[in-house]
Symmetry: C2
């Protein structure tokens, strides 16, 4: 099943994708669908239909309790950033105000704050059911589905101290969507082609099977720290090909369009302004 | 004015402290008091009174939109941890599930997950009004008040990768409270004695004037990244004297009680279990 979250005049609504149509559901977002535990009913529920092409797509989970990102999780990206492979998943956070929809404009900071804006295509896990201290099998059962997160990064703010957070949580700069594909269709999220492009030129191209720590390892490990709940978003890391690692470095700027695509899910497509 | 948040049979309620009594207010927590903008009315509002000594004190903000912590912000702690003074504030995050009240028990992880549990007494800012791109004067105006945060840290998880988050956001391990003292009484939060003790033995002892980046610098800087909103909690860092830096290292364990005290605010007092 493919789910999304659409902005309507009365607030956001979750929807089930049927071809080119979105069937509106009685939940505020995809996180609320998972929290309800009513996936079987959602699969056949009827509702008003909205054309997907012209719909205003919200972040698929509008206000996740947690947004956790895994850094340095593809070998080629570790090498290009001059880091060493970690022995455990490297976690950092984003706050909700970072999120935008899959077609929204990325709001660049003023030039005096930063011009070092980079792209990072990532497979993101959406938690489907509450889980704590999970083994791999329990982790698989707790994953509701997968989506795309473009971990747009303000590199100079990311690198000015040892901790990434500041450069990762700028307001209105992290596209999340456009849809969540449920785990019964995508399993553990491996084997999916992942890429990004800027103004039509491919920048990153890899496969989610190249992840050092896969989705089940990440959910299992993170659930030792805290309870994961429906709607939590966990971005799994980005492959090589980011702008900061190019010679010369290449940055996003006003008027440039960045697309992140994952096989079986779709793409985020965001204009920088 | 001194505010707190108390657990009642009908959920949490903000309260104004009057001597040994807490006067219940019509807000769910201190964050909601600030969000209302009605501080003058709150100062004289009447309500049911609860004895403070026996009250069940919740985290003073129960579900802040953001919990940001500043690391490596006292010179003696930077030295003892073998780090170098940063040129900008070092930010990391906690998630809401980390928070507990000022008198609650700290839930230790199972021994096979970690036994390296450390204390960190910190002055925490509570944002009082929405602010973005603030200068120091606007930052001061946006600070609602100050409280205490014990940034209890799971050191091996903090140090297993470059990013602190995992070791800082373990569920049910971060005391926040017991009260918020509004900024009209504490100004920029400087000049306050800060200390921690474990089982009655002083471990940390400093003054908030020793902060490398003071409260106004932090709020101003962080507001370039994102909008800060009422109830956001920003912990400002901890002075020297943590357990990890001792020879041999000293850890919290079941049955030990950790107290963090800040002049003019009070203390958190938490038993480990």
């Amino acid at each position: 099943m493919k789910l999304t979250t659409i902005r309507t005049r009365d607030g956001t609504r979750a929807a089930r994708i049927e071809g080119d149509e979105a069937v509106l559901l009685n939940y505020a977002d995809v996180g609320a669908v998972f929290a309800s535990g009513q996936l079987a009913a959602v699969q056949t529920a009827s509702g008003d239909e909205v054309g997907l092409a012209s719909a205003s797509i919200a972040p698929v989970v509008t206000r996740p309790e947690k947004i956790v990102c895994v850094g340095v999780n593809y070998a080629d990206h570790i090498a290009e950033m001059g880091r060493t492979p970690p022995s455990a998943p490297t976690y950092f956070a984003k706050f909700v105000r970072a999120l935008i929809g899959a077609r929204d404009e990325i709001t660049l900071p003023p030039a005096e704050v930063s011009t070092h804006i980079d792209w990072e295509a990532e497979l993101a896990i959406v938690i489907g059911s509450e889980v704590r201290n999970a083994d791999r099998s329990q982790a698989q059962a707790a994953i509701g589905g997968y989506t795309i997160l473009n971990d747009v990064s303000v590199r100079d703010w990311q690198r000015r101290t040892s901790q990434f957070l500041a450069g990762k949580t700028f307001e209105g700069m992290t596209p999340l969507g456009p849809i969540v594909v449920t785990a019964d269709e995508l399993g553990d999220g491996s084997g999916l082609a992942i890429s990004s492009s800027v103004d039509g030129v491919i920048k990153q191209q890899s496969n989610t099977s190249e992840l050092l720590f896969d989705a089940l390892s990440i959910v299992s490990d993170l659930s030792k720290v805290m309870t994961l709940v429906p709607g939590d978003v966990i971005a799994t890391g980005t492959p090589g090909g980011v702008g900061a690692a190019r010679t010369p470095p290449e940055w996003l700027s006003a008027g440039r369009e960045v697309v992140c695509a994952i096989e079986g899910i779709g793409e985020t497509r965001n204009l920088c302004q």
